[in-house]
C-alpha cells in the first residue's frame, strides 16, 4: 500500500515541478478563480477564492459567513431547555450529536448524572447520527469525484437509519430529544430488533461502498497522495475526528475522554490510517461507519433497564461555574464551553465546532495543489456549513 502511495506521490511532485518549469518558461499570468458560494462541494454556502498560476493554486482563501446565525448570542437569551432546539441546527446531518455535549456540560455544572438507561439510549442515538451523517459523506465524496451512483446508494440506505431515529424522537433531522438529566422518552416497542436489522443493511452498504468506491482505480488515482496532512500540522490547526485519525494520530474522545456516555462498556476499536491523504480520510470514515453499526448492535443487546430521567428541578437553574465538555461527533470534536452565573440562561456559551477547525487548515493545504484537487481535498475534509458558521 505504501509503495504505491510513495510512487504516486513522487509522480505527483514530478508533475508539479514540470508544470512549474513550464510556467517559468512561458511566464504565464495568474488568475483568480472564485468557487462558490454555491458549489456542490461546499455542503452549504462556502466561497473559495483561489489565486491560480496555470492549473496550480498559489493561495486559497475560504470566505464564509453566508450562513452565520449568531448562535452564541442567541443562546444567551434562552433558557437551558430551549437551547437544544437551536443547537440542533449546527451540524444538521448529525443533529442529535449536537445536543449531547451541551447537555453533558450543563449536567456537569448541576452535578447530576443521567441514569444508565438514558446514557445508553443517548449513545445509541449518538452512533445512529454518526452513521446517517457519514453515510452521506461516503456517497457525496464519490459524487465529487465524478461517480454519481454511490450518492444515490447513500441517500437510499441512510433512510433506514433516519427511520429509526424518527421512530424514537419524532424528527428525522432535528430530534431535540436530549434533556438535562436524561432523555425525553423511552424507546418504542420492537425498536431494538428493527434497529439491529437496519444495522445489517448498513453493513452491507459499507461492503458495497468498499467495492464501488475504494475498488475504483479512478477514485484511487484522484484521492491517493492528494491533500496530505502531517499529524503535527493537523494538531496545530485543531483537526479532530477522522481527519486527524487519518494522519496516524490514535485519538478518539469516545475512548480517551469519555464523559457520560456508554462507550466504556462496549467492545470497539479506533481506526487510524497512516497516510494522511484524502484516500485515508475516506477509508477511516468508512471503517468508522462499520464499527458504529457493531457498536449499536452491542448497545441494543446490553441496554439496561431502569428510569430514563434523573431527579431534576422543574425550573432548571444551573449553578454558577464554568464547564467545557466535548464529544466525538461525526465531524470531530464538538464541545460547549458554558459560563453560568446561576441564572435560567447561560451567561456565555462558546460553541467549539469541528468543521471550523477542520476547514481552517484549507489555506495551508490548498497551497500548490491543482484545481481539480481542491474539490477532492475539500470533500475529504468533510465539513457542514452550519458547523462552520454556527
Amino acid at each position: 500500500m505504501t509503495a504505491i502511495s510513495d510512487r504516486q506521490k513522487l509522480a505527483y511532485i514530478a508533475a508539479q515541478a514540470a508544470d512549474a518549469r513550464v510556467n517559468v518558461e512561458l511566464e504565464t499570468e495568474g488568475m483568480i478563480l472564485n468557487m462558490g458560494p454555491q458549489h456542490p462541494v461546499t455542503h452549504g454556502t462556502l466561497r473559495i477564492v483561489a489565486r491560480l498560476d496555470g492549473e496550480q493554486v498559489i493561495s486559497a482563501d475560504p470566505v464564509m459567513g453566508y450562513m452565520h446565525r449568531g448562535y452564541e448570542k442567541l443562546v444567551e437569551v434562552r433558557t437551558y431547555p430551549q437551547v437544544t432546539t437551536l443547537i440542533n441546527r449546527i451540524d444538521w446531518l448529525g443533529s442529535f450529536a449536537n445536543e449531547v455535549p451541551f447537555i453533558l456540560a450543563a449536567e456537569q455544572l448541576m452535578e447530576i448524572e443521567a441514569p444508565p438507561r438514558a446514557q445508553w439510549i443517548r449513545t445509541i442515538l449518538f452512533e445512529l447520527s454518526r452513521i446517517s451523517n457519514i453515510t452521506l459523506f461516503l456517497g457525496d465524496m464519490a459524487a465529487q469525484l465524478g461517480a454519481l451512483t454511490p450518492l444515490f446508494f447513500a441517500f437510499r440506505d441512510r433512510e433506514f437509519v433516519l427511520n429509526q431515529i424518527e421512530a424514537v424522537t419524532g424528527g428525522r433531522f432535528h430530534p431535540n430529544f436530549d434533556r438535562i438529566g436524561g432523555i425525553k422518552d423511552d424507546l418504542p416497542k420492537g425498536w431494538l430488533a428493527e434497529t439491529k436489522s437496519a444495522m445489517v443493511k448498513m453493513r452491507s452498504f459499507c461492503d458495497e461502498m468498499e467495492l464501488l468506491v475504494l475498488g475504483s482505480e479512478i477514485f484511487e488515482a484522484r484521492a491517493r497522495g492528494v491533500g496530505v496532512i502531517p499529524a503535527d500540522v493537523g494538531l496545530q490547526y485543531g483537526l479532530s475526528g477522522a481527519n486527524i485519525r487519518a494522519s496516524g494520530v490514535d485519538w478518539d474522545i469516545r475512548r480517551d475522554n469519555n464523559i457520560g456516555l456508554a462507550y466504556d462498556q462496549i467492545d470497539w476499536k479506533v481506526w487510524t490510517h497512516t497516510d494522511g491523504d484524502s484516500f485515508a480520510r475516506f477509508w477511516v470514515r468508512l471503517q468508522e461507519v462499520r464499527e458504529a453499526t457493531h457498536m449499536v448492535d452491542q448497545l441494543c443487546d446490553g441496554l439496561p433497564k431502569g428510569p430514563i430521567m434523573a431527579k431534576v428541578p422543574r425550573i432548571i437553574k444551573v449553578p454558577a461555574g464554568e464547564a467545557y465538555v466535548a464529544t466525538e461527533n461525526p465531524l470531530g470534536e464538538m464541545g460547549y464551553y458554558i459560563v453560568s452565573k446561576g441564572d435560567l440562561t447561560p451567561f456565555r456559551v462558546r460553541i467549539r465546532t469541528a468543521s471550523f477547525n477542520n476547514v481552517s487548515i484549507a489555506p495551508w493545504i490548498l497551497r500548490g495543489v491543482y484545481v481539480p484537487d481542491i474539490v477532492t481535498i475539500l470533500a475529504s475534509l468533510y465539513f457542514i456549513l452550519g458547523d462552520i458558521d454556527r
Partner: protein, 265 residues
C-alpha cells in the same frame, strides 16, 4: 516574560507563592489548611507545578476541578510565551479553540427572574449587578480564553488572560498555534479585541461594513428588542409552584419522568 510590570507584580508574587504551597498541602495532608478544601488531583496539581517552574510568575491564578478540568490565568505580557512553553515543553500540541468573554452584566431586557422589563421601564429601576468573574478570577471586563490539550497524556487546560476594558489588546497566538488564525479573527470581530502581530486581522463572518461587536454584552439583540423574552412564558410561576417537596417526595419514577419531561419540553 521577564519584563517587570508594576501593577500585577504584587499579585503575581502572591500567586506564585500560593501555587506550590497549595500543591504541597494537597499532597501532604488535605486537612492541614482550611483554604484547601478541594480533593487533591495529582495530574492537574503536577501540571500547575510544571507550568509554574517553566514560566515562573506568569501564572496569576489557577483553578482545579478535581478529576475534571484545569483553569490557569496568565499575566497579559506573557500570553504568547506561555503558549510556546505549553506547546513545546509540556506537549499540548492540540489546539482546541480560542475565544473571549465579556463579563459586563447585560444592560438589556429583563432578566428571566425580574417582574418588570427594564427596557420598557428604563434602566434605573434596578441597578445592574456587580461585574463578577469566573474560575481563576479576572480584573478586566474582557478576558480571552483558549483551550489546548495534550492528547498523549490525556489532559486539557483552559488558559485565560485579562485584556483590558476600553481597547482590549493581546498578543497573537498564530506564531505558536497556526490554527489560532481564524479563532482570533472571529474574536476580533465579535468582541473587538485586537491581536497584535496577527497576519491578517479582518472580519470573518460579518459583512465588511458591519458596525459593532455583536457578542459584547452592550450590543442589543434586535430580536429581543422587538419582542422581549418569549421564554418567560415557560418559566412563570405555576399554580403548583411551592410544593417542590411534593415533587421530590413522589418517588414513583414513571411519574417524575413524565413530569420533568413535560417541564422541560
Amino acid at each position: 516574560m521577564s519584563s517587570t510590570d508594576e501593577t500585577p507584580g504584587a499579585e503575581v508574587e502572591l500567586a506564585a507563592d500560593a501555587a506550590p504551597a497549595e500543591t504541597e498541602a494537597a499532597a501532604a495532608a488535605p486537612a492541614a489548611e482550611p483554604e484547601v478544601v478541594r480533593e487533591p488531583d495529582e495530574l492537574r496539581d503536577g501540571l500547575i507545578q510544571r507550568l509554574t517552574e517553566l514560566v515562573g510568575d506568569a501564572v496569576v491564578e489557577t483553578h482545579v476541578l478535581p478529576g475534571k478540568d484545569l483553569w490557569v490565568r496568565i499575566r497579559p505580557d506573557a500570553w504568547a510565551t506561555v503558549a510556546h512553553s505549553i506547546r513545546f515543553t509540556m506537549g499540548a500540541r492540540y489546539f482546541g479553540f480560542l475565544s473571549a468573554i465579556d463579563w459586563m452584566p447585560s444592560p438589556f431586557g429583563r432578566s428571566m427572574d425580574s417582574d418588570v422589563d427594564r427596557r420598557v421601564h428604563g434602566f434605573e429601576d434596578k441597578p445592574l449587578p456587580a461585574q463578577t468573574t469566573g474560575y481563576a478570577g479576572g480584573d478586566t471586563r474582557f478576558q480571552v480564553f483558549a483551550r489546548v490539550a495534550n492528547i498523549k497524556e490525556g489532559w486539557g487546560i483552559t488558559l485565560k488572560v485579562d485584556v483590558g476594558d476600553e481597547s482590549p489588546t493581546i498578543e497573537t497566538w498564530t506564531k505558536v498555534y497556526a490554527g489560532a488564525d481564524w479563532h482570533e479573527r472571529e474574536t476580533y470581530e465579535m468582541f473587538g479585541i485586537n491581536f497584535e502581530g496577527h497576519p491578517g486581522l479582518r472580519k470573518i463572518y460579518l459583512p465588511g461594513d458591519f458596525e459593532g461587536n455583536p457578542l459584547r454584552k452592550d450590543f442589543p439583540l434586535l430580536a429581543r428588542m422587538v419582542k422581549p423574552w418569549p421564554g418567560i412564558v415557560d418559566v412563570e410561576p405555576m399554580p403548583s409552584t411551592g410544593d417542590d417537596e411534593d415533587d421530590e417526595a413522589a418517588g414513583d419514577t414513571a411519574d417524575s419522568t413524565a413530569e420533568s419531561a413535560e417541564g422541560t419540553s
